[in-house]
């Protein structure tokens, strides 16, 4: 290939695109019937799948914000792909709609009348349906506006290479960073901590954030490798970029463990019934096995395997780690969501997988559409040459 291909050619996808659409439709049809027969299972399975993909998309937004906020050089070449991942937040906003119909099954506080539970009454101003939905609308409005706007400016820059887009995106970022932190924290509190309205943890937002940043970095590694495999990014992305992404994967593996342990230890040590209820459920019966697997698989295995230097410079090795960490992130979200329904122990339902397939295939199909819309990397970013010449 003499001329470097800068835009995605759909010959790599071909008929598989229609296959994805068909799979998404089939999976949605299946969970629609599943929802009719077992609405509770559907509600929780769908929330699990939704959260898994939602965290990944939000991670994309997080990495763009970090990129602009610290004026990063290395990440210029991978930024367009982060923007593509973040632009899926629009799809996530639409995919949130099914949860509206099963909300009282998920968030029990919605069906408890006032005056019955003093602990709920104390939280009354926050846990009110109208405020809850207003917040959800606000989160999605912010996520969609921020991700779309940053991506649009980045694409505009491909045409004339004017540095003012970089400067303007930085300004958007400075306004977005605090909002991002607030929206991520409170969406995690509303949708996940709210599954048990008695329980609370002050580290909940940052715990979900740790998995968010980690999982989207893994998706980025897989995405870049797939595109390289198809013949793109030839002299743009080198092993130095893989090394950096591997370091970030390692860093957030440790960060996840640090936050997860801090949350656990404080609750375990203080031993207040209102707080321990979360871990009591997850550390007893068959949930105990999954929680232990999480500690080993989400921290010790990637920690030891990502610690040595050479692996981070081998795309195949790093992709293996990325797939593993994504599976562990899935398990993490599973152990967060499903124990709220199956209190007595693990009950795996076919709908868990069907919901993953439905949302996953939908996102993959829309993502493929997005991939071809714009060049694969910011062609005329002022920092592109420095980014290509990255040295660790």
């Amino acid at each position: 290939m003499s001329e470097q291909q800068t835009t995605f050619d759909y010959k790599h996808v071909g008929g598989r695109f229609l296959g994805l659409v068909a799979a998404a439709l089939a999976a949605f049809a299946a969970i629609f019937f599943g929802a009719a027969s077992n609405p509770d299972q559907f509600a929780f399975s769908y929330l699990f799948a939704f959260t898994f993909f939602f965290t990944i998309c939000m991670g994309g937004l997080f990495w763009i914000l970090v990129h602009h906020a610290v004026d990063a050089e290395w990440s210029v070449v991978v930024r367009r792909q982060m923007e593509n991942i973040a632009s899926m937040l629009l799809v996530m906003a639409i995919l949130f709609i099914p949860l509206v119909f099963v909300a009282p099954r998920l968030w029990k506080w919605m069906s408890v009348p006032a005056g019955q539970d003093i602990l709920l009454d104390e939280k009354w101003p926050y846990l009110t349906p109208w405020f809850f939905w207003l917040r959800a609308a606000f989160y999605f409005a912010f996520f969609v506006i921020a991700s779309t706007w940053l991506r649009a400016n980045s694409i505009l820059q491909d045409k004339d290479g004017a540095p003012r887009y970089t400067v303007f995106n930085r300004k958007i970022t400075f306004a977005s960073l605090p909002l991002f932190a607030v929206c991520l924290t409170f969406s995690a509190i509303d949708w996940l901590m709210g599954l048990d309205y008695h329980w609370f943890s002050t580290m909940w937002g940052v715990y979900i954030f740790a998995g968010t940043a980690l999982s989207s970095m893994c998706v980025l590694v897989l995405l870049i490798t797939a595109l390289r495999g198809a013949g793109y990014f030839g002299n743009v992305i080198s092993m130095e970029h893989y090394h950096t992404m591997g370091k970030l994967m390692f860093a957030f593996t440790v960060f996840w463990a640090y936050i997860g342990f801090s949350q656990y230890m404080l609750i375990w040590y203080a031993n207040i019934p209102e707080e321990t209820v979360y871990f009591l459920r997850r550390n007893t019966e068959s949930w105990q096995i999954l929680s232990t697997a999480l500690v080993v698989g989400h921290f010790f295995v990637p920690f030891l395997l990502l610690l040595p230097n050479p692996g981070k410079r081998k795309p195949a090795y790093l992709c293996g780690m990325a797939v593993w960490i994504l599976l562990m992130h899935m398990l993490d979200i599973y152990v967060v969501v499903l124990p709220a329904l199956h209190k007595a122990g693990v009950v795996v339902s076919w709908m868990d997988f069907a919901c993953l397939a439905a949302i996953g295939c939908t996102l993959a199909a829309v993502f493929l559409k997005r991939l071809g819309d714009a060049p694969l990397w910011p062609l005329r970013d002022p920092r592109l040459p420095q980014s290509i010449a990255l040295k660790n």
Binding site: F261, Y264, M265, W268, Y269, N271, K391
Partner: protein, 187 residues
């Protein structure tokens, strides 16, 4: 008349040359590396990216030493916590077990000691491996070398190098484009 610095009676420390910019220094380093010299160093007012590679330096041993330091800290914490609390004088605090399941309470100390000893090993190991702190260096006998903190770049090939001979090294540095080539004496 050849340039020299320091006490001419004292043994020769090495031969040094001055370069005008980082790029010249970088390319000179590559050529010195390829010529097979071992005991030599470059000096610049700021860190130069990729200089390690240009000088042909291997990965430092320090990382492995720091790992051992971290392991020492970790094992110290494990011993000092489980030893007394689980074996020598089991003491039940807040209804918590005194066996292996009490590890969450001990974990912060294990973590902190691992980090502390690793950090100490890294800092002091780095100082020792660099031969620091030292009071003086033969290169300070050379007045021009003071410019290294401003805008000049230097290379010094030491007399301890097996391939060192004053005359050939002087010619070699000159062929690389070095200026003010000076023989440095110790004192």
């Amino acid at each position: 008349m050849k340039n020299s610095a320091g006490n001419p009676e004292a043994p020769v420390f090495g031969v040094a040359a001055e370069f005008q910019c980082a790029r010249d220094l970088y390319h000179a380093a590559e050529k010195i590396r390829d010529a097979g010299f071992r005991r030599w160093d470059v000096f610049s007012p700021f860190p130069i990216h990729g200089m390690d590679e240009a000088m042909g330096m291997k990965r430092s041993l320090l990382g492995k030493i720091v790992f051992l330091g971290g392991l020492t800290g970790f094992l110290t914490a494990v011993t000092l916590e489980f030893g007394p609390t689980s074996f020598l004088y089991p003491l039940i605090v807040a209804g918590k077990p005194t066996n292996l399941f009490t590890v969450p309470a001990f974990f912060p100390i294990m973590f902190e000691l691992t980090i502390l000893i690793s950090a100490f090993t890294a800092v002091f190991g780095m100082l020792i491996m660099n031969g620091l702190p030292r009071l003086n260096h033969a290169l300070f006998n050379w007045d021009r070398f003071k410019k290294v903190t401003e805008d000049k770049f230097f290379v010094a090939i030491e007399a301890g190098d097996p391939k060192f001979s004053e005359r050939s090294v002087r010619d070699f540095l000159e062929s690389l484009g070095g200026t003010n080539i000076t023989t440095i004496h110790g004192d």
